[in-house]
Amino acid sequence: MMTPFTTLCSTAVPLLRDNVDTDTIIPSREMKSTGRNGLADGLFAPWRYTDVAARVPDPDFPLNQPKAQTGQILLGGANFGCGSSREHAVWALAEYGIRCIIAESFAPIFRANCIRNGLLPITLDRSVVNSFGWQTLDVSLFAQTVTAAGIVHEFAIEDEPQLMLLEGLDAIALTLKSLPEISVWTTNDRARRPWVYTGSPA
């Protein structure tokens, strides 16, 4: 069970660059454990610290600014989260406290990883996203709106991701409810395409 996402009211921290990649969000060298935790400290390490080893914060990096301290919304440019499929990028963001990312567009694997981990990815026009910097936003997933300074912006999200985020559903548990039809399908398929199921070397 994930934490459900319903509404969020928070400061939007602008990181308005295009092609922010997952190697930058969480560099491989910061993925020190084989599990999902202990990643927040390495989040954006190459940009966040002037000296990565000594963890000296770069005061200019948006997340380091005092007004970002309670920010749970991150703003991005085009193709946010491109590159490596590492889910650690989303785990690091979530552990750090980010709950929603608003960007012009997302890389597909990153976006799917967000939804599986209770982080809401919102796509809006570049000019709208740019106008959100450092504002307090009201996000409602149910209404599919972001409200900034009284102006309501609607966003689109597919039904299933919306439902999974709203209810904090575990996708595996949900799919296992369809196990009977999956079993029937597999039994038929074994007859149709036996070569898929040869398993060990022929």
Partner: protein
């Protein structure tokens, strides 16, 4: 929940409306549609590696859920495994050996097939899966690795996922998907002398952007694609993730079937009627079409920090984002040709198969890399590629030219936290990503074909491979 009956194969020929190759694979793997509108798509193969695989297997085990069919799940050690001679579980990356030992333990506990550190069949996931016939035309294959799109070159619907999705596929045998859009990229004509599939991919990225394929499954087609050998097709499909596409696919042809027939996990013969249907029907429509005249493509090199920052090797650097120019240390309006380099890398799932190594070795034979090159590596894509290259004496050519010859793995395609290039290096690399810090903190990466890497290493500056005679 509405349950839609999966179309039976036998009904295929009766389906009137023409379909794309992707749609046919989608339809044959369609189990049902959920109330929320998602599609349950059957997954034929899951491939894990030690960088992200242990997390998925461990989390699955912790939730008490078994792998539903371990015979269709494979794992390999490729990402952080050492590539220096005499390797074991130790890694140059601090703490890296835990990823190896934990992946091994988790793989054994789950009963899946593991290609371990010193297994004969070890290699980069996307190199060994085709070599062993694990990926086949018409199958669905997923891996928690973005370059899984490489394997679409064999006519499979193969794509990269996150760890949670890998867990989902292993536990249930299906994934919940929204139906992707379709795009066809047709390369007409023929490639010019010295122009390679890598250049096709970089040309597509330079002209249509790193987000150009978002939401789409891209079918590569056209005479310049069917004219490629299987390894070249893999190079082209490899960079679909850089295009933000869900994945890429190429219709299997005689070449594909003869490449795969008899490989360890592949059928001995491709005589099932299923195989003959694996092509886009005449008249099938795509959501988007791009046509590129292959004869207009030149050898390409990246100039910036995204693969879309790529240009014809003799062009001048365009105006890009300031951050990219600042990181790479090159100004708009200047030339890349003649830019001095400090390091060279031939490797990765993009360009480290036997044909890649042969073409690079052809340029290096009887030559030596420039004295200014401080580090030059060749890392074969798999242990089988390494053996085959050594049988042809390619290792000797590389070593005589001043390259280090390594054991197979991802190696310096990415910086894992251990080995890197000398500080501040400008590197010419046959890999697929030139992101900031991808090959090490502060390392400036220029991605190009293995030929361009070899030619540049000889010259000590970025050089046009067509001029090495």
């Amino acid at each position: 929940m509405q349950v839609r009956e999966a179309p039976h194969l036998a009904t295929w020929p009766m389906i009137i409306s023409p379909k794309t190759l992707f749609e046919k694979i989608w339809d044959t793997h369609h189990v049902s549609q959920t109330a929320g509108g998602a599609h349950l798509i059957a997954i034929d193969r899951v491939f894990l590696h030690e960088r992200t695989g242990a997390a998925a297997l461990k989390s699955l085990a912790a939730s008490g859920r078994p792998v539903c069919d371990p015979t269709r799940v494979f794992a390999v050690m490729d990402h952080i495994v050492d590539t220096r001679p005499g390797r074991g579980d130790g890694t140059l990356m601090e703490g890296g050996s835990a990823f190896i030992t934990e992946t091994r333990a988790a793989a054994n506990a789950a009963g899946i097939t593991l290609f371990d550190v010193n297994d004969r069949d070890q290699g980069i996931t996307h190199v060994i899966s085709p070599e062993l016939g694990i990926v086949l035309p018409g199958v669905t294959l997923v891996a928690p690795d973005s370059h899984t799109c490489t394997q679409g070159a064999l006519g499979a619907f193969a794509w990269g996922i996150g760890s949670s999705e890998a867990e989902h596929a292993m536990a249930t045998g299906v994934l919940r998907l929204d139906r992707p859009k379709t795009m066809r990229v047709t390369f007409t004509g023929t490639l010019g002398f010295g122009v390679t599939p890598k250049d096709m991919a970089l040309h597509l990225l330079a002209t249509h952007g790193a987000g150009g394929g978002a939401g789409h499954v891209v079918e590569f087609a056209g005479s310049a694609v069917s004219g490629l050998d299987i390894e070249g097709r893999m190079t082209l499909c490899n960079m679909a993730t850089e295009f933000s596409a869900m994945t890429a696919i190429i219709a299997p042809d005689e070449q594909t079937f003869s490449y795969l027939a008899g490989r360890r996990y592949a059928p001995a013969k491709f005589d099932d009627p299923y195989w003959a249907l694996l092509k886009t029907d005449e008249g099938a429509t795509f959501d988007r079409e791009i046509v590129i005249d292959a004869s207009t493509i030149a050898p390409m090199v990246s100039w910036g920090t995204s693969p879309e920052h790529s240009m014809a090797i003799s062009a001048t650097i365009p105006q890009g984002p300031d951050s990219a120019h600042a990181y790479i240390g090159l100004h708009p309006g200047t030339s890349l040709l003649g830019t001095s380099i400090d390091a060279a890398f031939i490797g990765s799932c993009t360009n480290a198969r036997l044909s890649d190594l042969r073409r690079a070795a052809d340029l290096l034979r009887g030559r030596h890399i420039a004295p200014s090159i401080r580090k030059a590596l060749v890392v074969p894509g798999s242990s089988a590629v390494k053996r085959a290259a050594e049988a042809e004496g390619l290792d000797k050519v590389f070593i005589a030219a001043g390259f280090e010859w390594r054991a197979s793995g991802c190696s310096l395609c990415f910086f894992a936290g251990g080995e890197s290039f000398p500080e501040g290096s400008r590197t010419i690399s046959s890999t697929n990503r030139n992101f900031e810090g991808r090959q090490g903190p502060g390392i400036r990466t220029h991605i190009a074909s293995p030929e361009t890497v070899a030619a540049s290493a000889i010259a000590g500056v970025i050089a046009d491979p067509r001029e090495v005679v």
